[in-house]
Amino acid sequence: MTTDSTITSENQTAGTDSATEGVALAWHNIRTVLKRELLASFYSPVGYVFIVIFLLMSGFFTFMVGQFFEIGEASLSRSFFLWHPWLWLVFVPAIGMRLWAEEQRMGTIELLLTMPVHPWHAIVGKFLAAWLVVALALGLTFPIVLTVGWLGSPDYGVIFTGYLGSLLLGGTYLAVTSMTSALSRNQVVSFIISVVLCLFLILAGFEPVTNFVQQIFPDASRLVDFVAGFGVVPHFDAFQRGIVDVRDLFYFASVIGFCLFATAVILQARRA
């Protein structure tokens, strides 16, 4: 920089359209990070393997364990989506565990965070890339929809909200995994912590568990209710009944938002 006057005049021009510039830059950065992340996911066979395993597992649970044919209903909620909290529990942390752990292990985080990228751009870009992989896996289960459509006349609206709920559930687990993967440079460690936290989200609102706890501690009903509020299953179930409630959307959005925020805080703390 040459003189003070040039600096101030540049700042002024930057100030007038800095908001639009900021949004354009954020979008550009998020897209670039997302693209790199997707390239990396499918550069090795790991991405494909995960998706194939997910498809095999969901087929197995739906037709063998879920007794899809025996139930005799033209619906997916009791045979297919029923298993998703548990299937995602293993599959999503496996997809997300490398997001930040690998970056820290390879040292590339030092590159990424010294590029003209705000940590938020990187966090959101990576999260969205992994969520797209989850969405792709989910989308590839479409033959099941074709099957029910062929066998009977299902309510496609309920199937749609079922898929929406499952996608949000996967996103929630993924945000948790993003947070745990920032905690460690070891992918396995972040996988395990993530599974434990997501399991808590399932069990917190799970009726058998809440009933059991309430029986042992009859006085602690307010605490049980409070913890149950964190549970993911009631919110997920609403979608399976074809109900899209703002409160459920708010729940998913706030858990995702909180976990991504925590990712930023953890990354910042681990640098110093």
Binding site: T32, Y43, G107, T108, L111, P116
Partner: protein, 314 residues
């Protein structure tokens, strides 16, 4: 372009960098020297905005790293210490990513990528996956990433580490060449590199700057810098050398039959040749034969050793 003012950084109770200040202008190449653990990498991480200083201020291109980091970082190219690169990508994908995140698109992007591939001799590994590259090639890939947007400021942590001698030479020349139009800071443990490429050098020891000057300045600090080494053939022991004006001390080094070795300590600058002339006059008068007469420049490694403390003194 780079201004570091009274910067301090601690990790827990350990102070890694303490009250460091320096300025690098456009057209300057600053060599960063210091023993292991001196705080070189930590300082560079603060310049590039990876770490935040506990105290002090850093500006790059007039922009405060604490307030306007995103804009300042556009000016900076950075080669971190271990030359990290995404091992799950190919070289070309990695460079495309680096170019894109720097805001280069379309034709500008491919032009920039082609330029650095040629500059860093990466043509033969263009499509190879980074995790199968040899160490030197990985290093070059990360180097390529740091100059892809032709930055005004370059920060390189041991840029020649792991390169073969030809590549080391190549990189030094590149740095020197780029230094004419950029502000460059690079750290190294190879002292010849400082003489070969830097316009200025800083020596840092246990977090503090202990020397700051041109390579010639620093060499001048050596104990023997500026002294003359003289070898004479004479039948009898030569006298009168100590009386030459400008000679602070005459040291007689071991000699053999008929050959005499001396070191004449002097603080005179190399341009002043009165001592050499006086020696020649004396030799003519006493019919000594001068076998050798050289002026010592002082060696950087000697200076380095004398002003930084070895590990066992810590």
């Amino acid at each position: 372009m780079i201004e570091v003012q009274n910067v301090t950084k601690s990790f827990g109770r350990k102070t890694a960098v303490e009250n460091v200040s320096f300025v690098v202008k456009k057209g300057e190449v600053l060599g960063f020297l210091g023993p292991n653990g001196a705080g070189k990498s930590t300082t560079m991480r603060m310049i590039t905005g990876y770490l935040e200083p506990d105290a002090g201020k850093i500006t790059v291109g007039g922009m405060d790293m604490a307030q306007d980091a995103l804009h300042a970082r556009r000016l900076i190219g950075y080669l971190p210490e271990s030359a990290p690169a995404y091992s799950d990508l190919s070289v070309i994908d990695f460079l495309n990513f680096a170019a894109e995140i720097r805001g280069l698109r379309g034709a500008a992007r491919s032009k920039a990528v082609d330029r650095v591939i040629e500059m860093c001799f990466l043509g033969s590994v263009r499509h190879q996956s980074i995790d199968t590259l040899s160490k030197g090639y990985r290093h070059r890939t990360c180097f390529a990433q740091s100059v892809i947007h032709d930055p005004e400021v370059l920060v390189m942590d041991e840029p020649t580490d792991g390169l073969d001698p030809n590549q080391k030479h190549e990189v030094r020349n590149l740095i020197k060449e780029m230094g004419k139009s950029k502000a460059i800071v690079f750290s190294t443990h190879i002292l010849e590199e400082v003489e070969a490429a830097c316009t200025r050098a800083i020596i840092i020891d246990r977090g503090k700057v202990v020397a700051n000057g041109t390579p010639a300045d620093l060499k001048g600090r050596a104990r023997n810098a500026g002294s003359l080494l003289l070898t004479l053939k004479a039948t009898s022991a030569p006298n009168g050398l100590e009386k030459i004006p400008g000679v602070d001390q005459l040291e007689t080094l071991s000699g053999s039959e008929g050959e005499h070795h001396f070191r004449l300590h002097s603080r005179k600058s190399a341009k002043d040749t009165t001592i050499e002339e006086a020696i020649a006059d004396l030799a003519l008068k006493n019919s000594w034969r001068i076998i050798r007469l050289t002026r010592e420049e002082g060696r950087l490694d000697e200076v380095f050793r004398s002003i930084t403390l070895p590990d066992n003194v810590r």
